[in-house]
Structure formats: structure tokens, C-alpha cells
Amino acid sequence: MKARVTVYPRREILDPQGKAIRDALTRVGFPGVDDVRAGKSFEISLGTEDLQAADRQLREMCEKLLANTVVEDYSLEILGGAGAQP
């Protein structure tokens, strides 16, 4: 099973990169962009087809390593087949 983990700066925290990208988008002709959050994306192949087990493992990976939850949030998505998980 493949999954995608997305890690991005928490909403309440100023994201200097996102702000710089938004300003650049304005300069190249997209003045209507209100906000950009610049994050990271991980595609992870898991050795399980059990959705619950996958979800549990992925959350643990985020809490232990992939995200720094002091300043970052994460979201999980199962790619293909059984459909998306929140």
C-alpha cells in the first residue's frame, strides 16, 4: 500500500517561505492569492494492506520523525485502491 504524508507549517504560525512564494505569485500575475503554505510531501510504500494498521503507522511516523508538531501539522492520504484516509 502506498501513502502520501503532507507536512506543512501550522496555521497559526507565520510561514516565511509561504509568504515569499505568495508575494512572488503576485508578481507573476496571480494577485488573488491570499495565502500559501510551503510544506513537504512524502510518498511511502508500506508493507501492509490493512488500512487501520497503515493509518496507525503513518501517524506514529509523523509524530516521531516526519513532522515537528511544535511548528508543523500533517495530513495522511492512502494512494490508490482502498480510498483516502483523513
Partner: protein
Amino acid sequence: MKCGVVVFPGSNCDHDVYHVLKHVLEQEVTFLWHQDDSLQGCELIVLPGGFAYGDYLRAGALAALSPVMGAVKRHAEAGGLVLGICNGFQVLLEAGLLPGAMRRNENLRFQCLDVHLRTERADLPFTRRLKPGQVLRLPIAHAEGNYEDSPARLDALEANGQVVFRYCEPDGRITSESNPNGAARNIAGICNVAGNVLGLMPHPERCSEAVLGNTDGLALFASAVEVGSRHLQAAGAGR
């Protein structure tokens, strides 16, 4: 005092720290490889600056999981002295030995310049040779020194007296102009509650000799050497 300088792949201030401890302060010093899980009896452990593991994922994130950090955690829990400088500070945050996290500098630039720091705690093993409120001039060189935590946790940090250094004007005033990276509350360095673990973004090892034109950094190393981890409990009880 036996001192250990941890070397991660990508550390680049390790030899500077070694030099100050060995040749300026004439202490016994050894390098500790990140794959080792023994501190070889060292009393003072320094995590130096650099780009451990290439700063992959987040600065300090992968280094925090290396074998040597398990030994460093046990050393810290037992009251041993741990000093994290720049990238070493980031490693301490990622390892959970100090609270909070680092983000990209607010202006997105790598900041390489001398800054002024106000000493908020002069009673720690690392700062006992300083005076309360003393202003130091130290160099910084980092892209991710924008210290952040939740308002409640920052309040707790302040209440516990864990803020050790703040970016300030040459006369000691705390202003937003003197903050080089956007760090919350001008925080440049913090300690754990017990005071035996210190992390700071500026580089004291780069200004510890007269020949370099600045010796403001030497007090940190000299204080730690003077105290020695075996005296830590007495120092803690004196607070």
C-alpha cells in the same frame, strides 16, 4: 575536566570547539562519533555547529536519532553538562532535551554577522563567569534560528527562568531591530529546567581568543570547565 565534542556527518565547528577546550583552556578533549553510544567518561558534552546529516528533513531531526544522542540524553538526565551550539542547539530541540522548535529565519536569509546578547541567567554552570544583564558580542551564522513555541509554553519557559540569552542592542535593550531571525521574544539561548543543558544559536567558540579580536565567548566554556558536572548538584541547590 574531560570534554567530548560530538561529530555528526556534516558537523563543521567541531574542530573549533576542540581547539578552544584543548588549547585555550587546556582541558582533556576527545571527539565522539555519532555512531558511538558511549561518552567515554566525558563530563562536558558539546554538540557543535554545522549541518548534521545535511539538515535533511529538518535541521537536527536525523542527528537527534543517532546512537550517540541516547548516551547524551542519559548524561543530561543524570545532571551532566551538555552545550549545543547553533546546529547543536537544533539537535537538542529535535531530541527533546530542550523545548520548542526552529523555523527558517523570518527574512529567509542565512544570517552571518555579530549580534549582541543580554545575559538573563548568570547562575548556570555555563554562565557563572558572567554578570546578570551582561551584554556579549557573538557571531551568528544560520538560516534556521527563528525560535518558536506556543505562547503558553513560552510563558512557562520564562517563568522557569529558562531563557538564558536574548538578542539585544549594544546597550542591552531588547528591540525587534536587534532580533536577527524573528525568534520569539528575542530568544537566542535557553536551558533546561535543571540548568545543565544549554543551547544557543551564536558561536562562542568563534570568539574565545584575543587573536580573533573577541573573547566574549570564552566565559561559557570557562564557566563549564570551572564547575564540572560533579559540582552541579551544589550549584543547583544554590539557586
